[in-house]
Amino acid sequence: MKWRAKDIERYLTEKSFIDTVLLPLIPIQWEEAMLHTVREGEFIQIVSAEAERQLTGRVILHPAFTYLKAEPLEEHCKRLEKWKQQLINNGFKFVYFVTSDVQWKTIEDRIEQLIWMPAVPLEHMNDRHRGDFIEENVGSIMKIITSQWKL
């Protein structure tokens, strides 16, 4: 389900079936490596939107957590922790953070359920290749999520 009234209405009536949140972590940066930073966000938004589409009955695609790359990771962590707490308090059992920003990888064991995937310049790929590539990445997100559901 998406973060829009139509979907959330459904969520409110079917709460017991929707226990998973997909939360994209998207960096912002206007200085060096800006283009790369934009790619990281674009890629993650595309794959998480597609994963949501296929798992829409149990997953909410949360609005992205955005942050300045230049700021200390420690601060993002604190803020993110609050977001997560809110979700747990509201009954969500699974919260997945998806990102292409490698910074998060350094504290992987602290955040748990981090899905990291490297961004690629999608705009340089042809349609076919791009489709396959996205599908592959969406597939691995879905595998991670559905295998946790089975436990």
Binding site: E14, F17, Q54, L55, T56, G57, R58, W149
Partner: protein, 169 residues
């Protein structure tokens, strides 16, 4: 003389201009009316738009997952949406193209990917299951069979149209 000519042309100019404005205004008033009159027709056409998906000779008795793109409009947002159909031939030779959208809460089902329930469609979200022809299996969450695509065969190709729901039970 020359002044008169000038006058006329100025009046003409004004006339044209006013007519022009009037014309635009009339068009402005008319166009919603015309749209209302024509819209249902346009919609009818759009709904019936069939997309070629595969060669009929390649259709087997085993459901095959085929992807295709359709143009969609969601409010003001126009986009290409990828759709999936599971296509196979039934025992009697009829072609069946199933929509993989689970009738419970809309997740995408897969064919035969659950070893404990072979030859069924299986929903990853809450364990919904369907038979090969898309009939929901009692005791699992889905309230209705999978939708079926409108099909049409032309020049050896299978065309798919909109999804028809098979109701709830």
């Amino acid at each position: 003389m020359s002044k008169k000519e000038h006058d006329v042309s100025r009046r003409q100019f004004l006339n044209y201009t006013l007519m022009g404005v009037g014309g635009f205004m009339a068009a402005g008033i008319m166009s919603p009316l015309v749209r209302f009159a024509v819209d249902p027709l346009l919609k009818g056409k759009e709904g019936a738009k069939m997309v070629p998906v595969m060669d009929v000779k390649d259709i087997t008795n085993e459901p095959q997952n085929k992807k295709f793109t359709v143009k969609k409009v969601d409010g003001w947002h126009k986009f290409d949406e990828q759709q999936i159909a599971y296509i196979f031939k039934k025992k009697n030779g009829d072609i069946l193209a199933l929509s993989p959208i689970c009738t419970h809460l809309g997740c995408t089902v897969a064919w035969n990917d659950d070893p404990s329930h072979p030859n069924q469609f299986h929903c990853p979200c809450h364990g919904g299951r369907y038979t090969k022809t898309g009939i929901n299996i009692p005791g699992t969450p889905p309230p209705a069979p999978l939708g079926v695509y409108k099909t049409q065969v032309k020049d050896g190709k299978l065309y798919l149209g909109e999804v028809i729901s098979r109701g709830g039970s």
